[in-house]
Amino acid sequence: MNKKKYFLQFSVLVVLAVILSFLVAGKKVTSEYEEVFLLTNTCPPGFKLNDKNECVAQNLYKLYTTENDPGVGGLKSALPKARDGFSPQQIDLGRYLFFDPALSGNGTISCATCHIPSKGFSDGLATSIGMNGQKLDRSAPSLWNVAYMKLFFWDGRASTLEEQLEGPLFASNEMDNTPENLVKTMNSFEEYLQMFAEAFPNRDTKDQIKLEEIYTALTAFETSLISLNSKYDQYAHGYQSALNKKEIEGLNVFRSFVARCAECHTPPLFSNQQIAIIGTPEPYGLPLDAGAEIPFKDSTLRGGFKVPSLRNIEKTAPYMHSGNFATLRETVQFYTDGRGHAVPKGEQLRIHWHIWEPNLSDYELDRLVDFLKTLTDESFIPKIPPTVPSGLTNAIK
């Protein structure tokens, strides 16, 4: 019954869309037809549509099994279980929402303001800029491969993407919205009413948009951002010529127990998803960020942050939670400058045992940077909608 309704609605929508586009095309000869926001019925790359209209993540790492828990290192290792199974329509709706400033309190900021696709879904800033130009405390984390993550925010305070996205949406210095206002705003757009009805067919098409549906659509889009086809991946799958001599030297430094990078940035995700205290410096003038101590109410986690994935790391400078390092070279240098060398006086941080003095040579540090750049893959980068359903200006291109 519902399905029939959905098809009826869909075909009416299509007919309307066609008529509308003819009308528009007849009046002005511009590319305005994008303004009809039809949701796609195909999955983004990296996903296969199953017969339940769900997009299931597909990649070569599914060739492997680790008898151990997945995602803990080595080349031919399985990934952790992906958060997938969203419909193509939900993912596509999420894409529009992601770029739509209507999600913020005053219609000036979208998710993409701080998570810019061309900047590795970060923003190129040391710390992001929120509502009315306010400088925020931390840098914007990349969103690539969040489908495989279990811990969100630098301090790891959220364990689902839905929980995570409430943070920036409703923080007064970020998007400064409220749940009530967000729902009200979304329901004021005829375009969104239709799109949500299409993306959530198991309810009455005339129903109002619900907060959970907004969360689901955004989560669906974020989990579609997959980057697993880098040069490194080709090497890992067995193509030994994928990396050049210097890059392989870098890989060997990376996974050696001298540098110990791979101990926490475990392939294939390049994060072990743990909280680690490594004692990086804050940019000049900023006080020490207590990190995971605050949400976990545990002083032993002071200065602890989630181990970030290194995929597309080349694109997300500057580095660390408050962007103190402008380049990858400065970042890798930090790890060889001595255990706790940048910890402010009077702070007793429980620095992670893998932070030590590996005495890496300049040559080795250069090779590490060479290797890190082999983790770049943006082949599945999503298309940015030229216009968004709210009619507001999407500043991100």
Binding site: Q58, L63, G74, H352
Partner: protein, 503 residues
């Protein structure tokens, strides 16, 4: 005269003998050839239920690869590069200063020791690791490994490994370190002067560590965040700590359990601690025989534990053992430890730190044979009164007398790689890679898949040829990059998948 003749005869005999030996050596002995080449004895799997008296094997891999020889002056890594799965690389005596990495499956590396001369990997304190492997089925035997900065032999996620007969001195942090591996054997290795653990089984399952000698290290043998491990017949002496089973917090694998420490000599482990500041082992007091920290179901049986100056066996929780790190997901208590028959005497002659203070509260200046401190439940001990002990009042009588039914924790058959059908391989390749540029019936970056179907109808080889060596056939489309990183098998699988694909 007679006497002189006798002497002459004797001298002549000596001379002839000398000539004979010389001729023999010159013409018949070739120093560097052997009558037979010992094949790599790959893993052999005994049927579960066979007694130890039989030589019958349930499963065994026969050698049918090629043999690649590496002589002094050439590179082991070059041989690895040339090798295919199943091959044997034989390394002859000489000094090799290199980092050998093995990102392939089923490669055997076998040192050939001739006349007491070993093939030696010398890191000169400049190179990080001697051997790094990520493949399954790796065998490394008969190497002398010295002066590396990181590890002698480190494995990452390789299953079914054998590491044996290696002589490892001062290779930095660890001597032998399989990490994230299942089903492995570490036997007959001799390791010394390692700044952390000589043999470190980290986040592994089903590993036997048997017949090794470890001395002058910070930690002799360490079973960490690993399950189902047998530590047997090892000689651990003059380390800071002899044999360790523990949980390190903050790692993705959170548990250590089902460990048997049996029939080992754990003697005089009193070396000063030279572990790196901040490392977990840096906190081990000198004079530690066995250390069990937060590990569960550890059985200590039939060991000879003597002359360890702090305590023979130390059992602690994480709060007391490693207060530096915190991980709410690591269960901090050692539970259900079982201590069976062991010979322990002369331990605790010079206790240090916390233990010393605790013993003084007992009016005792010596450390105990068994020292338990902190949380943990369900632990038991056989013949409790035999030992001088501290903190085991709540240990009940052991429910077992021995573990003789368990001869190994290795698996009855190798961990099999996941096998996928061609269809599945094609599907994963299509959606995982091709779909970035090709949609079924619309243009993304490349041509729609249904057009590819029309062009290469019934001709998967045509697709294979094209993706291996693309030609820019259409002006309105960008040139496709070659997909040579795909294996031939994957190329054919994806070609067939594309041709069979329906929307």
């Amino acid at each position: 005269m007679k006497k002189t003749t006798g002497l002459f005869k004797f001298l002549a005999a000596i001379v002839f003998l000398g000539i004979g030996v010389f001729v023999g050596k010159t013409f018949f002995a070739n120093k560097y050839s052997e009558a037979t080449i010992p094949m790599p004895s790959t893993m052999q799997y005994r049927n579960v239920g066979f007694t130890t008296d039989t030589t019958q094997m349930a499963q065994k891999e026969d050698f049918n690869g090629k043999v690649i020889e590496v002589k002094s002056g050439s590179s082991i890594q070059a041989a690895v590069k040339e090798a295919n799965p199943g091959d044997l690389i034989r390394v002859f005596p000489g000094t090799y200063s290199e980092n050998v990495y093995i990102d392939k499956d089923n490669i055997s590396l076998q040192g050939v020791v001739i006349n007491g001369k070993w093939p030696t990997l010398d890191g000169k304190k400049k190179i990080n690791d001697a051997f790094l492997y990520s493949g399954n089925g790796i065998l490394i035997e008969n190497f002398k490994i010295i002066n590396y900065k990181g590890n002698g032999i480190m494995g990452q996620a390789g299953n079914n490994f054998i590491i044996r007969n290696n002589w490892i001195i001062d290779t930095g942090v660890y001597g032998i370190f399989p990490q994230y591996g299942k089903n492995g054997l570490i036997e007959h290795n001799v390791l010394s002067v390692i700044a952390d653990a000589a043999i470190y089984v980290g986040m592994c399952d089903n590993v036997d560590v048997i017949h090794n000698e470890v001395f002058d290290n910070v930690a002799g043998i360490e079973i960490e965040n690993s399950r189902h491990c047998l530590v047997e017949n090892n000689y651990a002496h003059n380390n800071t700590g002899g044999i360790l089973a523990f949980v390190t917090p903050g790692l993705p694998i959170k548990t250590t359990f089902d460990v048997i420490i049996r029939n080992n000599f754990i003697v005089n482990n009193n070396h000063e601690n030279f572990g790196a500041p901040g490392s977990t082992v840096a906190g081990i007091p000198p004079g530690t025989g066995i250390l069990i920290m937060a590990a569960d179901d550890v059985i200590v049986e039939n060991n000879i534990i003597t002359g360890n100056d702090n305590a023979g066996i130390t059992i602690v929780d994480l709060t007391n053992g490693d207060p530096k790190a915190n991980d709410p997901n690591s269960e901090p208590n050692p539970d259900r430890v079982v201590i069976l028959d062991n010979i322990m005497y002369n331990n605790g002659n010079n206790p240090t730190g916390e233990l010393k203070a605790l013993m003084l509260t007992q009016m005792d200046t010596k450390g105990p044979d068994i020292f338990a401190y902190g949380g943990g439940t369900g632990s038991t001990i056989r013949d409790k009164n035999k030992y001088r002990s501290f903190g085991i009042d709540n240990y009940g009588p052991a429910q077992i007398t021995d573990t003789k039914d368990i001869t190994t924790f290795m698996l009855p058959e190798p961990v099999a790689p996941r096998s996928v059908s061609d269809h599945e391989l094609g599907e994963l390749t299509y959606y995982g890679i091709c779909a970035g540029c090709h949609a079924f019936n619309s243009r993304l970056i490349g041509v729609p898949t249904n057009i590819i179907q029309a062009i290469h109808n019934n001709n998967p080889q045509g697709i294979v040829d094209y993706i291996s060596n693309p030609k820019n056939l259409r002006e309105d489309y960008p040139e496709m990059p070659p997909q040579n990183y795909l294996s031939d098998e994957a190329k054919m699988a994806v070609a067939e998948y594309i041709l069979a694909l329906k929307e």
